[in-house]
């Protein structure tokens, strides 16, 4: 029984002990060992105590007496020990022994000077602890003495006396710091001294408390006004040692000095720092005495460091430094700072090293990092900026600026090249590939690199977004906006160049890409396309090139063409691609028509015997005609040329066949788009030449003569001057020179003579000379652009009619804003006004009679 009681008691002691020990977590391990040692004593103590119930305090007496003597069971109910009582009752069933409760015969008496003697004993022990000498009595004895005194209502006196003794001692301690204050004790030594004093104090207080544990558990707990022994110790220490201004200042100064040294890279005694900062926390003066000054100091240090390093270092280096600093501070926090300092400290460092320099950092380093594609540094920058208020916003803004600036530079450069490429003479110069168009390059191929550069740039930017900016949506949107802004800074030209870029990729002979690569490239192009406002410009140029690809048979892959078409349809809707689709439809229809035509020609040959000549003609060559629907296709300048009679006859045969099938139509031949295969008979052997119609017209002339002048050929064939010169140049000055020009030279001049080159040699049997047809002339370019502007007028008209038809009545402002929503190309308000006027003239709508700013739809 006494044993079980003791264990229970120990358990409750332990519980309380853990509570206490949580409060003094910073007390060193050494102290804890002491505490554990004492616990063992306590257990023994309590065993010992129970054997003498007379000295128990009342409540514990009840308990122990009750459990030992069954005749006290009447008290059970009020004691709340029901379980035990019932078990006791059950143990002796049927015994009818009468219980008589009697008072003690008399109070146990103490001898008179028990109080003084015991106190002297305890005081001796306390003094011994303070002086670190051995204690005369065993700890059990002392513990019991305290317990006894408390039991005899001497707790108040005991507590007060103990306090006085401790106070005396602590007051005395101050002298060691005071005394030396004059001769400027080294701050580290001073800190060590303070630390020692503090450690001693803790150790002593723990010892004392262990002895006076009973006092702490009873008297202190019962009186909320009295602080526990440990807290009393802290109070005294605070009051007498640390509240001394010079001591406190010196301590804090010393601490700050140590921390500064550590920040400067020196090795310092971190455990000393940890212990002393723990002391400040325990004394509850951490915040006011230390933290405030510490943060000030930190701010001062890092403000200066930020200023200095921003000047001295490269941005990447600086960012790494900041990162390192933050890590160090984090480490410091982990190791010896109070956790409450974390937030203000980190934010202080971030503010001083980053927040103050946001714009500077970005202005000084962002462009360079982006230029050099330093993803790791950029990632670090992003992560650091994410910590600071408004950091990401600022970064994002500069990111947008970078894209705008970078790409505008690129576009202007390329545009310059584009312009240069159309300078008269079309000189081929060696391309000097400088940074983003800063070098003038007179190279017609160069304008194509603008799109390639844009694509590369977009790739790079995407990569940075993904790997450095964690695909932050804001950054992606800013990127999109920026692309949109700069691409549309130059009206129309980027759209044109993108269209041409696609053409270059979709053309036959472009073997650099597989189908999948081509597909991926088209997807990327669509991303750029999306940014463009004047999509109709793209459409016009795309259409022009598509027409050539289809008609001259130069398309690389039908699948790729169709895929591009469906992408455009998806992006811009059916109206945008209806004409392009019409072109494909025309090609298919033409194929059908040609099947019918061949049947027709054969039939005619069989049926009409007398026209043998005709019959022979109609099948003697392989004639294919592509019938285009006007309106779907680009407009071509009509050109009349003189065809050899047999070609004219073929045309006539076909024309009568076609018009018989389709009434109400007329046919317009397009010689610019025709191309032929010619058999050629050179001295070195036969060849097949793939040539444009114009080229074949010129070559066929040489069947009937030789040595023609430029003027004669022009008169004979009727080919337009510029076109003819290009044609002659391709035949006489290109790679395959089937005719010879005298005098020799690159340019075709009036009066030049042309001869058949009978000695023509070429390693191939089939020779293509008709690439000239695929090239764009300046007139073509101008025409296409003009055509776009005309079409825009129709589109504006259509949009106005569409809006007015649904709304019936609208004010001018509302109509205009609706129009801006619908129109996919940039327009000036003045142009819109003109179109509205024109529609009013044509009775599509009318002005309100009273309010001239209001329009009504006229059905």
């Amino acid at each position: 029984m006494p044993f079980s009681n003791a264990t229970r008691k120990k358990a409750s002691h332990d519980q309380q002990d853990t509570e206490r020990s949580q409060r003094k977590r910073r007390v060193s391990g050494e102290n804890r060992q002491g505490l554990a040692g004492l616990k063992r004593h306590k257990q023994e103590d309590s065993d010992f105590c129970h054997s003498d119930p007379a000295h128990h305090s009342s409540s514990q007496m009840d308990e122990s007496v009750n459990s030992r003597k069954p005749n006290f069971s009447a008290l059970v109910g009020s004691n709340g020990l029901t379980n035990r009582a019932s078990s006791l009752a059950n143990s002796k069933p049927g015994t009818a022994k009468k219980l008589v409760i009697k008072n003690f015969k008399g109070k146990p008496k103490l001898h008179d000077n028990y109080k003084e003697e015991t106190w002297m004993k305890l005081r001796g022990a306390v003094d011994a602890i303070h002086k670190s000498t051995s204690i005369k009595y065993s700890l059990e004895e002392l513990y019991q003495a305290v317990e006894n005194m408390c039991s005899h209502k001497m707790a108040v006196m005991l507590y007060d006396s103990l306090k006085v003794v401790c106070e005396e001692h602590i007051k005395h301690q101050i002298t060691q710091f005071k005394g030396n204050s004059g001769d400027e004790l080294d701050s580290v030594l001073f800190l060590r001294k303070i630390n020692k004093c503090w450690q001693d104090h803790c150790r002593q207080m723990i010892m004392i408390r262990s002895i006076f544990l009973f006092l702490d558990r009873t008297y202190v707990l019962q009186n909320s006004m009295v602080s526990s022994l440990w807290d009393m110790g802290l109070d005294l220490f605070r009051q007498h040692i640390i509240s001394d201004t010079s001591v406190q200042t010196k301590t804090v100064d010393g601490l700050l000095l140590l921390i500064e040294r550590e920040r400067n890279g020196e090795m310092v005694d971190r455990s000393l720092l940890k212990s002393l900062l723990g002391m400040l926390s325990d004394l509850q003066i951490y915040k006011e005495a230390f933290e405030v000054r510490f943060l000030q100091e930190t701010e001062r240090l890092y403000a200066a460091e930020g200023q200095r390093l921003m000047q001295e270092r490269e941005i990447a280096e600086y960012l790494h430094h900041v990162d390192k600093r933050l890590e160090e501070e984090q480490d410091r926090l982990m190791f010896y700072m109070d956790q409450s300092t974390q937030k203000p400290l980190v934010s202080c460092v971030e503010k001083q090293l980053l927040g103050e320099h946001l714009v500077n950092i970005l202005q000084k380093g962002l462009h360079q990092l982006l230029d050099e594609n330093r993803t790791d540094d950029l990632k670090l920058m992003y992560n650091l900026f994410a910590k600071v208020k408004a950091g990401l916003e600022t970064l994002c803004q500069h990111w947008g600026d970078y894209i705008k600036k970078m790409s505008r530079y690129g576009i202007q450069g390329s545009a310059l090249n584009w312009f240069q490429s159309y300078l008269p003479g079309r000189k081929h110069c060696t391309s000097i590939n400088g940074s983003f168009g800063s070098t003038i390059v007179i190279n017609p191929e160069k304008d194509k690199t603008m799109v390639q550069e844009l694509l590369d740039f977009k790739d790079k930017v995407d990569n940075i977004l993904q790997s450095c900016f964690s695909s932050n949506e804001k950054f992606i949107n800013t990127m999109k906006e920026s692309f949109e802004t700069f691409i549309n800074k130059r009206l129309n030209k980027p759209a044109e160049l993108i269209a041409k870029y696609v053409d270059s990729k979709l053309r036959a002979g472009n073997k650099e890409a597989t189908e999948e690569e081509l597909e991926r490239m088209l997807d990327k192009i669509m991303v750029l396309f999306r940014f463009i406002h004047g999509k109709d410009v793209f459409e016009a140029f795309y259409k022009k090139d598509l027409a050539k690809r289809l008609l001259v048979g130069k398309s690389a892959s039908v699948d790729a063409e169709k895929s591009m078409l469906s992408k455009l349809k998806q992006e811009c809707g059916g109206a945008f691609t209806s004409k392009l689709e019409g072109m494909f439809k025309d090609m298919e229809l033409s194929r059908d028509i040609m099947v019918h035509f061949k049947q027709y020609a054969q039939h005619k040959a069989k049926g009409v015997d007398e026209h043998i000549q005709h019959q022979k003609d109609s099948i003697s060559i392989d004639l294919t005609v592509n019938i285009l629907t006007m309106g779907y296709w680009p407009t071509y300048i009509p050109m009349e040329v003189h065809l050899p009679p047999e070609m004219v006859r073929y045309q006539e045969i076909f024309k009568s066949f076609y018009l018989a099938k389709h009434s109400g139509r007329k046919l317009q031949w397009q010689p610019t788009l025709g191309h032929c295969v010619l058999r050629a008979d050179f001295r070195a052997g036969k060849k097949e030449l793939q040539v444009s119609l114009f080229q074949s017209l010129v070559l066929i002339m040489f069947n009937d003569g030789d040595g023609f002048t430029t003027e004669y050929i022009k008169q004979y064939t009727g080919i337009e001057d510029g076109e003819l010169r290009r044609t002659l140049q391709s035949l006489a000055c290109g790679k395959a020179r089937v005719i010879i020009k005298t005098p020799k030279g690159k340019e075709v001049e009036d009066g030049d003579q042309f001869h058949f080159n009978n000695d023509f040699k070429h390693k191939l049997y089939r020779i293509k000379i008709n690439q000239i047809q695929m090239k764009e002339t300046q007139e073509e370019n101008v025409n296409t652009t003009e055509r776009v502007f005309q079409d825009r007028q129709y589109q504006i008209d259509a949009a106005i009619v569409r809006i007015m038809k649904t709304r019936k009545t609208l004010t001018h402002t509302l109509l205009v804003s609706e129009l801006y929503n619908q129109l996919k190309f940039p327009v000036k308000p003045a142009d819109l006004k003109k179109r509205i006027e024109s529609l009013i003239d044509r009775d599509y709508m009318e002005r309100d009679k009273e309010n001239s700013n209001q329009y009504h739809y006229v059905a």
């Binding site: 000549q613 003697s620 046919l667 058999r679």
Partner: protein, 102 residues
Amino acid sequence: MADTGGDNGPGKKAADKMFSLKKWNAVAMWSWDVECDTCAICRVQVMDACLRCQAENKQEDCVVVWGECNHSFHNCCMSLWVKQNNRCPLCQQEWVVQRIGK
């Protein structure tokens, strides 16, 4: 294969010809056979759809109509016109449909 025919070379034999046509890819553009290629009613080219059809995205259905007077318009423009006035807007003759394009 035969040569390009004897009637263009004056007296020369076919074998003498240095160039002969083997294959010809010709291109022709068809349009409605009309006097004026703009519709006088909506002032859009007859080869394009009229404004209303463009607005309603019915380009495919927008065909041309010829009157006996040989004037031509978009069929849909004309059908609206004749409701008000059954005369050709260009020559004021009675409007009689000659044919409708396809």
